[in-house]
């Protein structure tokens, strides 16, 4: 589904990702872990189509298509979803209006008729239940005055609404208390299907207690330096990032 080959990315001439390879297939959950500044969020942004970064080398293909041929909104309509680490506020725009616009844009792109008001409301109720949002969240302005936990839940709610093929969740677990974390994890698990894939970007092993990944990658200094299964995350948790630093240093020497 997603193939990243030898990707090199910089910002203002400063290299951040330095030859990264990653392959994600349908039905898989990948976790990308790494210390601050290792390039995790940059990778997510580049896949989603943020223009702030310069892609110097490498390829990314999604569903067999060159991702760089598509502007950000097309990638989204093709089924790529980014759960933001810091979701922005859009004052005065209700979540319902925001989602309805987004869904109908996607449907238009796919050649489908827009959802009627009633169909949309039904879908929204269904998804709210699914991701355990009981509040009147949908009537509130997008992220305006939301607590950290509400913002993250809102990201998961949007993910449920848009039913992406590839969801990248950028530190969705950071800043969440254990209850909110469970809500988020349950949402992700319920949305897990054979024909979609999830990439979890996270700092901590904690999230992986609730969402069991098929693969764990350790991103360090712009490269994936180690891949494994859930055990790798446990090992990392136990030994800390220093362990990786030492290993890398040894490897380099």
């Amino acid at each position: 589904m997603l193939r990243v080959k030898n990707l090199t990315v910089s910002i203002h001439g400063k290299p951040i990702i330095k030859g990264l390879n990653l392959e994600v297939n349908e039905g898989e959950v990948h976790a990308i872990m790494g210390p601050n500044g290792s390039g995790k969020s940059t990778l997510a942004s580049v896949i989603a189509g943020h223009k702030m970064f310069d892609v110097d080398k490498g390829e990314i293909s999604y569903m067999g298509k060159n991702i760089f041929d598509m502007p950000a909104e097309t990638r989204a309509r093709e089924g790529i979803f980014l759960g933001f680490q810091y979701p922005v506020e859009i004052p005065g725009v209700s979540i319902a209006n925001f989602m309805r616009t987004a869904i109908n844009e996607k449907r238009k792109y796919l050649g489908l008729d827009p959802l009627t008001g009633a169909e949309f409301l039904k879908l929204m109720e269904e998804k709210k239940k699914m991701v355990e949002i009981h509040s009147k969240l949908a009537n509130r302005s997008v992220n305006e005055g939301f607590s950290g936990g509400e913002k993250k839940k809102n990201e998961i709610f949007q993910m449920a609404m848009l039913e992406p093929r590839l969801a990248i969740l950028d530190e969705t677990d950071s800043g969440l208390d254990i209850d909110a974390l469970k809500v988020v994890a349950n949402g992700v698990n319920k949305l897990r299907r054979k024909d979609n894939a999830t990439v979890l970007i996270t700092h901590y092993q904690r999230l992986l207690d609730y969402i069991v990944p098929d693969f764990v990658h350790i991103l360090y200094d712009g490269r994936i330096i180690k891949s494994g299964n859930k055990e790798l995350a446990m090992e990392l948790e136990e030994k800390g990032y220093d362990w990786i630093r030492k290993e890398t240093a040894t490897g380099a020497a």
Partner: protein, 482 residues
């Protein structure tokens, strides 16, 4: 291409709709220039009562003593008033047989605004059948209004049928000496609208439906007079979301509203005059004087405006809160893009006791435009416990536009409370990317963000108007961010 566009412009602006408000004058044209003879000519052509001619002449003599104001934060080349034509033949007959012949770009805009096909035809200057729906709709409306005693007609018709009302109220809120453009209008106004709501009547209809139809046909110097008798209510809508292109560059209208005791008037405007090309060439100058007076106790008047058009907008819908416990409201969204200039705001003059006013102004500037809010809040010596709350927000798109706020506050007694809040913000890259990532394109994203920003004002518009205004905001800002 330019030639073709010019032709289309001419033809569009030359369109005529004969079933809306329409003055039944067979016309020729006055020679260019402005003299007393021009004014006598206009008055004679319209078969006006003597007091009207006298009023026009007084205004003209006064106007000649005035200098064009230059204090607004706008710039434009000098207008040669002797070059203008103050009385012109009725607009040309439609030039097209069907919509296929009309400028596709214009049609696309109509489509985006969701304007019904018949109205598209009319606005674009396509011949329409006499059996068009709005004719029958129009007469049904007239019947309903008549049953309630509401008078709603063109200014010219009112002059013929209700001269006493005109004589009593015209110039009572905006005197002909008020300002340069008001004097000019008083001297040469062509036509406009008149509404009278009798005592205790709640006008059963939004006075609106004619207006989209009529707006394509408005003259250069319009005059509107609305009178709400004691305890009456009316919601009045003026303007048109469809882009109105006109060869008349200068538009100097006057609107006067009188609300008697316990009466309420809601006045909503959507203004979308032709702003000119991307360089601002050929756009309309919209220099308007709008003022209402809450004459009796407990009266209420609110202005809601969405301003997106014109090369230059110079407009301060104002209210005089004369009665005790009267309420004035001003809700405004002013959008400027490309090289448009807008200097707009309001004046709230508190004279009565316990008077209250609210001002919410949302300026949105894109391109290389300039958008100014200018407002005065004044409380008189006797306006005990007067209260005002003003909120002036500016939203910038891109980094080449300007937003300015000029608030004037003049408090004349110790018990008044006047509050002013102002903010300036920019649409952030992060907000745009967030929308893009959800599959909403740039244009849609700007539309969403801007409509969210303007929500407090848009929500004051009558429903059908609000929906159109939302679309209009998005369209007006196309291409405003590089």
């Amino acid at each position: 291409m330019a030639d073709k566009n010019d032709n289309i412009l001419e033809e569009v602006s030359g369109s005529e709709y004969k079933y809306g408000f329409y003055t039944d004058i067979e016309m020729d044209q006055a020679p260019p220039g402005l003299t007393e003879d021009t004014i006598r000519f206009i008055s004679a052509k319209k078969n006006e009562p003597g007091f009207m001619l006298a009023f026009r002449l007084k205004a003209f003599r006064h106007w000649k003593t005035l200098k064009e104001p230059d204090w607004a934060h706008v710039a434009y080349p000098p207008i040669n008033y002797q070059d203008l034509i103050y009385y012109s033949a009725p607009r040309k007959r439609p030039k097209y047989d069907n919509l296929d012949e009309v400028d596709p770009e214009l049609l696309e805009t109509f489509e985006k605004l969701g304007i019904p096909l018949d109205e598209q035809k009319m606005l674009a200057g396509v011949a329409v059948d006499a059996v068009m729906d709005s004719v029958s709709v129009g007469s049904t409306f007239k019947k309903t209004l008549a049953e309630h005693g509401v008078i709603f007609c063109s200014f010219s018709e009112a002059l013929q049928k209700h001269p006493d009302l005109i004589k009593k109220y015209m110039g009572s809120v905006v005197p002909y000496t008020d300002n340069y453009f008001a004097s000019l209008n008083s001297a040469v106004f062509s036509d406009g609208s008149f509404a009278y709501i009798p005592r205790g009547v709640r006008c059963p209809l939004e006075l609106s439906t004619y207006f989209r139809i009529n707006a394509a046909n408005t003259g250069q110097f319009e005059r509107t007079l609305i009178i709400a008798e004691e305890g009456s209510y009316v919601s009045y809508m003026e303007g048109c979301t469809a882009p109105i292109r006109d060869e008349n560059q200068l538009h100097a209208a006057i609107v006067e509203i009188i609300a008697h005791k316990d009466a309420e008037v809601k006045y909503s405007t959507v203004q979308n005059w032709w702003p000119g090309d991307k360089e601002g060439k050929g756009g309309v100058y919209n220099f308007v004087t709008k003022r209402g007076i809450c004459e009796g106790d407990n009266a209420k008047i609110s202005w809601t405006q969405v301003e997106t058009g014109s090369a230059i907008t110079w407009k301060y819908p104002s209210l005089i809160l004369k009665g005790n416990n009267t309420i004035g409201e001003f809700y405004s969204v002013a959008v400027t893009n490309n090289k448009q200039q807008a200097d707009t705001g309001t004046k709230m003059i508190h004279l009565g006791k316990n008077t209250r006013s609210t001002i919410i102004s949302k300026g949105i500037s894109g391109g290389q435009s300039n958008n100014s809010y200018r407002g005065l809040v004044k409380t008189g010596r006797k306006a005990e416990n007067a209260r005002n709350f003003s909120q002036c927000d500016s939203l910038l798109l891109g980094d080449q536009c300007g937003a300015h706020t000029f608030p004037y506050i003049d408090v004349g007694n110790r018990s008044s409370i006047v509050e002013h809040e102002a903010t300036t913000s920019k649409i952030s890259e992060d907000q745009l990317f967030y929308c893009l990532q959800r599959g909403i394109d740039m244009e849609g994203a700007i539309g969403l963000i801007v409509n969210g920003y303007a929500k407090d004002v848009l929500s004051k518009l009558p429903m059908e108007f609000a929906v159109e205004a939302q679309k209009l905001l998005s369209i007006s800002l196309e291409g405003s961010i590089g």
